[in-house]
Amino acid sequence: MLMLEKRPQPSRAWTYATPVLAVVLTMLCGGLLFAALGQDPFETIRTIFLDPLFSEFAWFYRPQLLIKGAPLVLIAIGLSFGFRAGIWNIGAEGQYIVGAICGAAVGLAFFPLESFIIFPLMVLAGAVGGLLWAMIPGFLRVRFGTNEILVSLMLVYVAEQLLASMALGTLRNPDGMGFPGSRNLAQYPSATSWINQSAGMHWGVVTGFIAVIFAYIALSRHIFGFNVRLSGQSPRAAKFAGVNPGKLVLICMGISGALAGLAGLFEVSGPAGQVSIDFGAGYGFTAIIVAFLGRLHPVGILLAGGLMALTYIGGEIAQSNLGLPVAAIQLLQGMLLFFLLAVDVLTNYRVNWGRQPA
């Protein structure tokens, strides 16, 4: 009979192997799913995972990889701090939206003035907006012991309504002939986050890489990272070591909120261009998968963000070329997280085949 025996320490080898195993299993299972949908499984898998990188039109898709990956990596890096410490901010989507609204509002307030100071102010507003939105669940948890999972999630729905109100009312383009949505920030030179649009480079990509480096240093070389890890693994020990749990909650929520807000700001002033009703594209939720797939490690998150961006772009190609429904990609991403959590058992447990553990 199959027996599981707890490992005294998580296996290092499996820590690295499980994400790869999960991706392989997802491809297998996804292939079955595509076959059930009446597609050629090999063709579809190749289209999703390889065509964006190696097809003859790859020059067009590779910049897309940066555009889709940047918000995912930025948000996931922020989430990873909290997830490590057992603080579950799952409302990054809301913080992303509010960051975009705040940043865009600052930019639109200056229109049509041109000045080098506008974009930095927008960045600041985006970060502060996301930070404050994340402080609501953080503060409520510290002060009243409220569950931060539920509050942060409820605030996503509130943020979506706020976005609709802004796109239809306050921030609507006065020259837009009554169409919903704000002025296009990507065409406003002082407010755009684009550095080189054809190469897919915008400030969000740059900030994403900086965030990865800082997160790596903070987690592995700084006492803050140690406190975060300690709190996640043993809250009691962390208390004895002098970690203030309330402060840690606020810092972790703040970091994730600010980074999600930044991601929103860079998106609204670049790839998205404007505040519109359908601005929230679910990056805040997909970033949760990215954070776990990357093992909550900054470098892992960078790779996982790239992979997830790949499935987005590959999904779009498969949609237009093979008629694959968009929902199938969403399902594939959910499946990936399931497999990841499932194979994680190998990291923490040893499998014994038929023998009683000694």
């Binding site: 999630l153 409820m154 998968i289 959910g334 399931f338 058992v345």
Partner: protein, 304 residues
């Protein structure tokens, strides 16, 4: 704004309808959490139930069969969660989130081709005599059967947890799984059954949305109802009686804001639509939750 256009009797009557989907999902989750499992995938199971119920009801022409299909769909989806958390000891918070993301994708895929179709009608029961009582009659006794099925499930869960031996075992497993295991109870088996019951109830709640309340299928139609159900379980301090109160409170907020929208309130529609979510947060803050089941959210692994 014309407040006189709001009929209080109709308001209270639609309150019962609005509360039913959340109540169904919440009572299932209450049983799951009393067994010591935190399943955050209610939203995913609800929306899967909504699409399963809708597809089955449209194809068979019977809403009753639709509800059965929804319960089966929700329970099957919850089995994935159960397998991962109970047999592979995965993190319950993360697995619940995965279940929600997966369920949203799965439902969107299954519901393709069913958008814009109307569900087969589910007639209201006009209970004779009781339904004729003035004021109370239209509020309480003139609804579709699922409203009463929901109430019956809540009553049954209350009696099960309070008076039955099986209910005692379930609570023991939730309070202290090590002790329950030492007494010879099958912790994993009890929890798997509870998880499946939770999935079935969430499925029913979702199907109530797609078959009765809306009644249509649209992607993402649960719009956070599953998460509100989770909040109500906390609000109810894991007790069925207070859960009923919580569900009606939220039904009330939802119906009231819809009525204010229709009456042309001076507040923008978007801000009124925030009301149920803001009310959830307010309630979570104000209500000091009772004591959660002792082993809530912890994995159980018998070392021997």
């Amino acid at each position: 704004m014309d407040l006189s256009s709001i009929n209080p009797i109709l308001l209270l009557a639609s309150l019962m309808v609005a509360a039913t989907p959340i109540m169904l999902a919440a009572i299932g989750e209450l049983v799951v959490e009393r067994a010591g499992v935190l399943n955050l995938g209610v939203e995913g199971m609800m929306i899967t139930g909504a699409v399963c119920g809708f597809v089955v009801a449209v194809n068979t022409g019977s809403p009753w069969v639709g509800f059965i299909g929804a319960a089966v769909g929700g329970a099957l989806l919850s089995l994935i969660f159960g397998f991962l958390t109970q047999f592979l000891m995965s993190n319950q918070v993360a697995t619940g989130l995965a279940l929600t993301l997966f369920g949203l994708g799965l439902s969107a895929l299954m519901g393709q081709g069913y958008i814009g179709i109307k569900a087969p009608a589910f007639p209201d029961w006009d209970i004779p005599l009781l339904g004729d009582i003035p004021v109370i009659g239209p509020i309480v006794f003139q609804h579709d059967p699922m409203v009463y099925v929901g109430l019956a499930i809540v009553a049954a869960v209350w009696a099960f947890l309070k008076y039955s031996r099986a209910g005692l075992i379930l609570r023991a497993v939730g309070e202290n799984h090590e002790a329950a295991h030492a007494l010879g109870y099958h912790v994993i088996r009890v929890r798997m059954l509870a998880i499946m019951f939770g999935g079935a109830c969430a499925g029913l709640g979702g199907a109530y949305l797609s078959l009765v309340r809306v009644p249509q299928w649209t992607e993402g139609m649960t719009a956070g109802a599953g998460w509100i159900a989770l909040a109500i379980v906390v609000f109810a301090s894991w007790r069925p009686g207070r859960l009923l109160l919580g569900a009606y409170l939220f039904g009330g907020v939802t119906v009231l804001q819809l009525n204010l929208q229709a009456a042309g309130a001076a507040i923008a529609v978007e801000y009124l639509s925030m009301a149920p979510y803001l009310a959830t947060i307010a309630v979570l803050v104000i209500m000091r939750a009772g004591r959660a089941p002792g082993s809530l959210g912890q994995s159980f692994h018998a070392s021997r």
